[in-house]
Amino acid sequence: MNLVNIKDVLTSFSPALDYLALSTGDGRIKIWDTVKGQVQTEFADIASAEETNIYTNGGKGHLSVDYTCMKWLSLERKKKRKLGTSILVLGTGGGDVLALDVASGQLKWRISDCHPGGVNAVSSSTKASCIYSGGADGMVCEIDPNSGNLIRKFKASTKAVSSLSVSPDGKILATASAQLKTFNCSDLKKIHKFTGHPGGVRCVAFTEDGKYVLSSAVGERYIAVWKTDGAKKQSASCVLALEHPPVFVDSWGETDKMGLYVLAISEVGVCYFWYGSNVEELGNAKPTKVSLATEDSSLKQQHKGSLPVIFAAKLQGVLKPGSANAFIASGLLVKPSFQKMLLQFGNDLVLNASKNGVLLPITQSVSKSKKGQGVQNKVTTLDRAHAEDALLPIARVADLQEKKSVQPHSSDKDTDMIEQSQAVSDYVETFSMEDKLRSLGILKGTNEPSNLSYASAIDGIDLEAYLPPKKLKSAVLSMEPSTAFKTLEALASMWQTRGCGGRYLLPWIYSIMVTHSHYIMSREPKNHQLLSILHKITKSRTIALQQLLQLSGRLQLVTAQINKAVGNETQTRVHEQEIDDESEDEEEDVEEHFYGENDNESELSSDEGEDKGK
């Protein structure tokens, strides 16, 4: 396979970045469609295809055309706003400058023997008002891009001009041989001379605002940054070091506002990226590398030189400080792939090298391709039974408590959704009417989910409804001892978990204990635990009794004073409350009193109910 060095590859992106012109030094120019990743068209032998046979000898094959530089620019049309012609300006080793109309595939114009000895560089500003070319004769030509007329010509250097660049605004021209010179484009007066490069400068680029020039010479492993409007004599503002000599330099951004972004491609096809908010910072920055994965060492050995590399890149825009979009052409020159990627300063990137276009030896290719296909075409197929492990819907969310617990969980990110979930709980009963109607039926009497587990045990007992002691007693009496015991267990655990108010539970517990004491005693060894639990609970609550009584006394006092002030006497209510508290704790000790009070309380509460009804 022909070894192509990236140094000899000419690349140029179209201004809209949708095409890439690529010439590998064999006189052919391929136009790649970067959107599709396919060759759009190929230009070979342009010179002889036209009627330029008069100027050049007839039998000249395309291989004799030796392109040395390439620049794609689009000509704006002022008259009509439609696709401006885009031309590809080429310099040849023979000293000709030619322009190719890419869309129509025709030679637009040609300047023969513009630079005797060979054209070394062409450049133009973003507006493409004129083209500058520099050649081995040390001259710089200014060319009208529309007609191809030579406008001006001046001697920039006694030595060959190796590279040149025009600032984006088209005001400053930088030419480089061994030393870098800047010229004012309008009067072609020399502005500055920068010396320091030992050899011929290979690449020159202006920053977006034209305040700095980047340059790098052949064999140098760094890029020098020069200030364009500084003092007469000065050294480089900063130096950006790389591991291999750069072949291409591009920059983006302005020094004042966005910071500087510099992109370079080295000889070995690795892309370097620097960012700094100012030049000093840029100089201290460590480059971020974008490289292609070279995991396949066998491939390396067998195809020496034809390694996938990054060979063209262009900064496209800045997303936020420190990260920029870049358009990168990588892979093999025979089949490049194009990617728009986000370069983040500080994050090295390794791209996957696609093996497209590699001609593999047959023995290897069979296994390779099979392997490759096996990896690539691994398709999972699911049949009808795909949903067996799937989550089933949690059917009903009528319960508000549950939803509240779920909601913040699922919407921790977003306040809107929390808002919504709260709203859900607030309004669900009003809005999903039919659901509510149905759920009302379900929900009746089940305010606690924990209740459900005991539902079987206390079947037939309405804990909520208050029963007079006699009725309660008869109900307990009518129970079979075993069921009564089960009920007791259930009630005890409910009390323990505070599932239900002691006010309702305790009469039942007490009454069962009284009525079925024999049975309970007979089960003593087994239910020792139960009794001890009950005992513990009662104990623990009686401890607090003293304090509760104190508190209730204090409360009584305060409320009495308040009531006195108001002139209203609702002492009884407080008292009743207190009793209620007590009753939970003192059931076994103060049973008589408790019942008496409870009677009283029931009357009161019924009174209250009536009041409310009224």
Partner: protein
């Protein structure tokens, strides 16, 4: 504003005289492509409606080959004369009636008299026009007229009418310019071109089948015609009696020869032979420039070359799409064949090798009736501006809207596409995840005789290198036998939901989230949900992905997609919901339904109530990611469009894009568009966080514009005015943006308001109960009665 996706195949293209350029009718413009590179060089802009005919003035001598003049005729009723090297408009002739086809015989017949090209008396055009005065009355009268115009006059009179047909026909002219004709059902009418000022004579050839295409031989009196069944008929020596050139010859040949083989009735032809090869209709017929060969093609997508004398055949198979036109260039080695899939192939001639292809956006597939309106065949990658479009040949085309260029095609199912075959597989839906890394498609294998139908759902992972997608997971029968109604992707995670008419929805997740490399990723079913066994018709994830809204016929259910918990149910609309979309990250949910009563409703998920609704038929909804802005594509009702006062506003546009901001029921802006049916819209959020709206219409033409920025409004208004001023054009098939002229704007809004019908109808009181503020919500006891009443009413209506 970017426009694109134009069809290259609406009418026949034409080569320039040096065969280096190819002129293609693209909507309102003529695009000039380079035959060498396949890239567009320039375009001729000026017509305000579709360009229907393109005639390049032929060069008679080698020196003239560089001349670049052409005539165009358009549906806007004008005939224009151009210099396309410039490009420059030289002359405009107003014919006042839409022109469907035009021929100018004198350009062909008098190439020798070079200087008389503009001899005014000679420049006579025969045009096929539609008499629009008759269209309006909706009568069954003959609307299509073949007329004779003299192009020398600036303003054309009515012209002599040669023939009237039901609808406008395309005129075919012989390469020699001596004859022209039209096909009309089973007949071909042929006229000769009178040399002097005399009236042209007419003759008719008959056939038993409907004729689809015909062509004249360049030198001899031979007509080739193709019919719908695939036969190619060759009439030789036509018109010897009736169309004799001189009167003396007429006498000499006025002998009736009844033995003419194959010629029907009293037709004036010497013989008629029939060639069989095509299995389906013949669309393309053309003789080679020397008359030795006949090219034919049809639905099979095979170009057949017949040796005229012997009937021997050569083929160019596997073009892959029905052929529409075949043209040859002045250069004998170059010709072009035009296919229905919006591709123009340039052929290297004797070997018939495809040199280069100029391809555009693929036209939408023709879906069987049952899938119309249900499928969503366009999906957008918001960040990169790529649209995924379903195409005819079971493919999904990835098309870069910003560059107007196709990227690649993804073959959705393994079946080979034969253009002539009946449709057996339908790709019903395509969806792209927000970052464009995953694509999902659904396809239905249509049952043959009721057996063997299969629904499958596929997930595709993107391959950034090759700019295409590779298959990751196939799910056969994802919802048992039921069809998939919608697919939606989670905004941030690898999660998708598919809903089915069978009453359930499934949430799919990719296991690549958890571990493993990218290549091993596959999708599994994460959760299944249903709501009262109602058909699920649409789905959408909220902006942050925490809530999934699934439409169960006419109610919207809100789910937690992770845990599969039903969060709540939003009240009912009147009709089944077909589209759902959260308005960005706001709490608003936009729902659209269209059968039987169209409705666009906006729901407030925080209040669980309907905010507002319009009685509009909605084709597509899209919402911006960050703001609460959303846009809908609405079909404007016919009655409204037709009413006299609004006619000038709509000018044939059948849809409108309405841009809303959150809860505000008043649209921020309205644009009227053409071919809205089957269209689709989406916001595109590029790198510069600049919001753009892309609209792809029913025939895959599209426009990308900035909906918010005032500058765009103004600029486009200026554009619009500029167009009007210079070239008196509007824009056909595309959005026309109305400027911010204040009085006009007001009128627009009024239009919009009068256009919407309030959702609440008075005779159904219970429907109003649930809309409005929750604060003045009536107590439960009162509601109950109303509610049950409503239930009863509903069942009554069902019984009726």
């Amino acid at each position: 504003m970017i426009r694109g996706g134009r069809s290259y195949v609406t009418s026949a293209p034409s080569f320039s005289n040096d065969a280096k350029k190819l002129l293609v009718c693209t909507g309102n413009t003529v695009s000039v492509f380079s035959a060498a590179t396949g890239l567009q060089i320039t375009s001729l802009e000026g017509h305000t409606a579709q360009v229907t005919t393109l005639i390049v003035v032929p060069a008679s001598s080698a020196a003239q080959k560089i001349l670049c003049y052409c005539w165009t005729a358009s549906l806007d009723g004008t005939i224009r004369h151009w210099d396309f090297s410039g490009p420059e408009l030289l002359q405009t002739i107003n014919a006042q009636v839409p022109i469907y086809s035009m021929v100018i015989p004198s350009l062909l017949s008098e190439p020798q008299q070079t200087d008389k090209r503009y001899d005014s008396s000679k420049l006579v055009a025969y045009v096929s026009v539609e008499d629009t005065s008759l269209v309006r009355e909706g009568s069954t009268e003959l609307r299509g007229h073949i007329r004779r115009f003299n192009l020398a006059k600036e303003r054309l009179p009515r012209g002599d009418t040669l023939k009237e047909t039901e609808e406008p026909k395309s005129i075919v002219i012989s390469p020699s310019g001596e004859f022209f004709g039209i096909r009309h059902k089973c007949k071909i009418h042929v006229w000769d071109v009178p040399s002097g000022g005399s009236v042209s004579k007419k003759m008719t050839l008959h056939h038993t089948k409907v004729i689809n295409a015909f062509a004249f031989h360049p030198t001899e009196r031979i007509i080739a015609a193709g019919d719908v069944t695939g036969r190619v008929l060759i009439w030789r020596g036509f018109g010897n009696r009736k169309l004799a050139l001189g009167s003396q010859k007429k006498n000499a040949r006025a002998m009736v020869d009844l033995d003419n083989p194959g010629v029907r009735d009293e037709d004036d032809a010497e013989s008629c032979t029939t060639w069989h090869w095509h299995s389906a209709e013949v669309n393309v017929l053309n003789f080679s420039s020397d008359g030795a060969y006949l090219y034919s093609g049809g639905r099979e997508g095979v170009l057949v070359v017949w040796q005229l004398d012997t009937g021997k055949k050569k083929f160019l198979p596997r073009i892959g799409s029905p052929l529409l036109y075949f043209i040859w260039s002045p250069e004998p080695t170059l010709s072009s064949v035009v296919c229905a899939d919006n591709q123009i192939h340039l052929l290297k001639m004797p070997s018939m090798e495809i040199l280069r292809t100029i391809s555009g956006i693929k036209p939408p597939p023709s879906l069987p009736k049952m899938y119309e309106g249900l499928s969503s065949t366009v999906a957008f990658d918001r960040s990169s501006g790529i649209a995924a479009l379903c195409t005819e040949n079971y493919c999904v085309q990835l098309y870069n809207l910003l560059n107007d260029r196709g990227i690649s095609e993804v073959q959705v199912c393994e079946r080979n596409h034969q253009p002539g075959d009946e449709i057996t597989v339908v790709v019903t839906a395509v969806a792209l995840s927000l970052d464009g890394s995953v694509m999902s498609t659904t396809e239905v294998k249509l049952p043959e005789d009721g057996i063997g139908g299969l629904v499958s759902l596929k997930f595709w992972e993107s391959e950034p290198d090759s700019k295409t997608f590779t298959l990751s997971t196939i799910v056969y029968e994802p919802h048992k036998d039921a069809g998939i109604s919608a697919i939606a992707f989670h905004p941030t995670r690898s999660m998708a939901v598919s809903t089915s008419f069978g009453g359930d929805f499934k949430i799919w997740v990719s296991n690549s989230d958890k571990s493993q490399t990218d290549k091993d990723s596959s999708w599994i079913c994460h959760a299944v949900g249903s709501y009262k066994k109602k058909p699920m018709t649409a789905a959408a994830f909220s902006g942050d992905g925490t809530v999934l809204a699934v439409a169960a016929e006419n109610v919207i259910t809100l789910w937690n997609p992770d845990k599969n918990i039903l969060l709540s149910v939003l009240g009912a609309t009147l009709t089944p919901i077909t589209k759902l979309c959260f308005a960005g990250k706001s709490e608003f949910l936009v729902a659209a339904s269209h059968f039987p009563k169209p409705e666009l409703s906006v729901w407030n998920t925080s209040k669980l109530s309907s905010s507002w609704s319009y009685g509009l038929r909605i084709e597509a909804i899209t919402s911006a990611l960050d703001s609460s802005t959303f846009a809908v594509l609405a079909l404007v009702p016919k009655i409204f469009r037709k009413s006299k006062s609004k006619k000038n506003v709509f000018r044939g546009r059948d849809g409108a894009i309405l841009l809303f901001n959150g809860s505000d029921p008043k649209p921020v802006s309205i644009w009227t568009v053409m071919k809205a049916e089957g269209g689709s819209i989406s916001f595109l959020e590029g790198d510069k966080s600049q919001l753009r709206l892309a609209y792809v219409n029913g025939s895959h033409e599209y426009v990308v514009f900035d909906p918010n920025s005032d500058e765009t409004h103004e600029r486009s208004a200026a554009d619009y005015e500029g167009l009007v001023g210079e070239e008196e054009t509007g824009d056909f098939g595309y959005t026309s943006m109305y400027g911010e002229l204040p009085d006009y704007d007001k009128k627009r809004k009024e239009d919009a308001e009068s256009l919407v019908t309030p959702f609440v109808s008075s005779e159904r009181p219970w429907e109003t109960i649930f809309s409005g503020s929750t604060l003045n919500f009536p107590p439960l006891q009162k509601l109950c009665g109303e509610f049950f009443e409503s239930l009863m009413e509903k069942s009554n209506s069902v019984v009726e």
